[in-house]
Amino acid sequence: MSMLLEVTGLHASYGDFRVLHGLDFSVEKGGISTLLGANGAGKTTTLRALCGMIKRSGTIRFDGNDISGKATEDIVRMGVAHVPEGRGTFTGLTTEENLQCGAMTRSSRAEIARDLEQAYHWFPRLRERRNQQAGTLSGGEQQMLAIARALMLRPRLMLLDEPSFGLAPLIVQEMFSILRKVNQEEQVSMLIVEQNAGVVLELADTAYVLETGDIVMSGTAAEIRDNETIRAAYLGY
């Protein structure tokens, strides 16, 4: 089984305050892993640490290369797309400009144009809003824009931070079905951080449960999903 992302002993801190205390987890090539846990467990921090947005230590292997010392831009350029908490929309740019930004690291204009069409194919609502200031989009539209923008990178790994946050259940369903299609058709691996464990466990292969900066449980999504104790103790559903 070959791993696309292998993390061992990941530590991270904000100033003097340690947030992560040595995490080990991985994402298979073509697979989907999820990090579950309550608010403040360190999920977002984990994604930020992976991307080099905060100071971290430990080994992070992406496709065999250690990226733990690399700058965010360089990690992104290797094919890691991060859909951040709060979606990271460029609110002052139009929808289409946001998507163009997603393809900033690529050079072939023809391919970019093709991918833009593909993005609109997946998210038709965005096509309608293509010349609108992105800040005026609804929450669901902005989340779709964030995912579509990440796809414009042609990523090999997508890091998604609470994609369902603040969205209506119907939209969440729609979005996760698109994510499944992306995963299957484009072979994009994913690491999804979620509080909404019920939905994400349907999608993921592997799941890790995080509590105050430590992984307290891991296993296949099915195992976690079917374990009453875990559900009651950590996932609250």
Binding site: Y14, G15, D16, F17
Partner: protein
Amino acid sequence: MSVNTTTTADSPASATKGVSLPAPAAATGNAKIMRTAGVILLAIGVAAPFLSGNFLIFQLTMMMIYAIAILGLNILTGINGQFSLGHGAFYAVGAYTAAIMMDQFGVGYLWTLPMAGIICFMVGFLFGLPALRLDGVYLALATFALAVVTPQLFKLSPFEHWTSGVMGIVISKPDAPFGLPLNPDQWLYFLTFAIGLLAYVCARNLVGSRTGRALMAIRDNPIAARSMGVNTALFKSLAFGVSALYTGVAGALGAIVVQYISPDSFHFALSVALVVGLVVGGVGWLPGALFGGAFIMFVPNIAEELSKGLSGAVYGVIMILMMYAIPTGLGGLLKAALGALSKRSMTR
């Protein structure tokens, strides 16, 4: 642009910002260090005029005057989070208030100080009202405009009768009262020293008071402050007023000590110097004002010693190097040092 203020040991806000406060034992240790430093400083301050020549006394007096002005700016910027590039204007208003009262109405110099304070408070408060609507760079420009415009107002022909226009006003230096055995330089030194001390104590009390907490709440999170029922408009204008009061008193003292004022005394470079002093001393750290005052008083002289033709360049280089070495000012450096110290004492 939001003004990033460094929180310091003085402000309770540091606790909410996730900076770990030193343990109580260490805190008293720090307080002890600070108190000892304060007492030593005080002793030096009292002894200085008897140990040095009149010229140095004059320089030290000017340094303290700038420190009082910077203290005022610190209340606005450090405590309330509003920005001003135009405090030289309030300094000028204070100076002119004092000079006109003494020159035109023969008022005793001591009485001009509270009057300068009151007038500057009003001017500051009124200026603070429109400034409420402005943020960041816009406020910076509005205050900068104030600094540029004020000297021009003082030479307006309709006011020339009081201001003497471009010729300026010459003032007499007061003698020491009650037959104190002090020469005028020494006496003004002690007067400034006492007023500076008073100003500092008042500022400290202000910071510790409910008003002070409200001001800091506005700085750290204006929306939350408003939702907690703080009248942000009133408090922000008030901060402008109090800040202008301090700077105005400093201006009045400056006029008396220098014995002369003219529109050229208050070029906008003065406002810029005050900001430099504020940042070098440490934004939000009240004692930093003294170091800021020392910086803007003495460093240009050092620069001039190094190179006359390039004194401006040398001063600029020193400024930039300071910002590399201590980006959060002396206050930030001291805080970090004390933090490290208390951490070590904790592990012990």
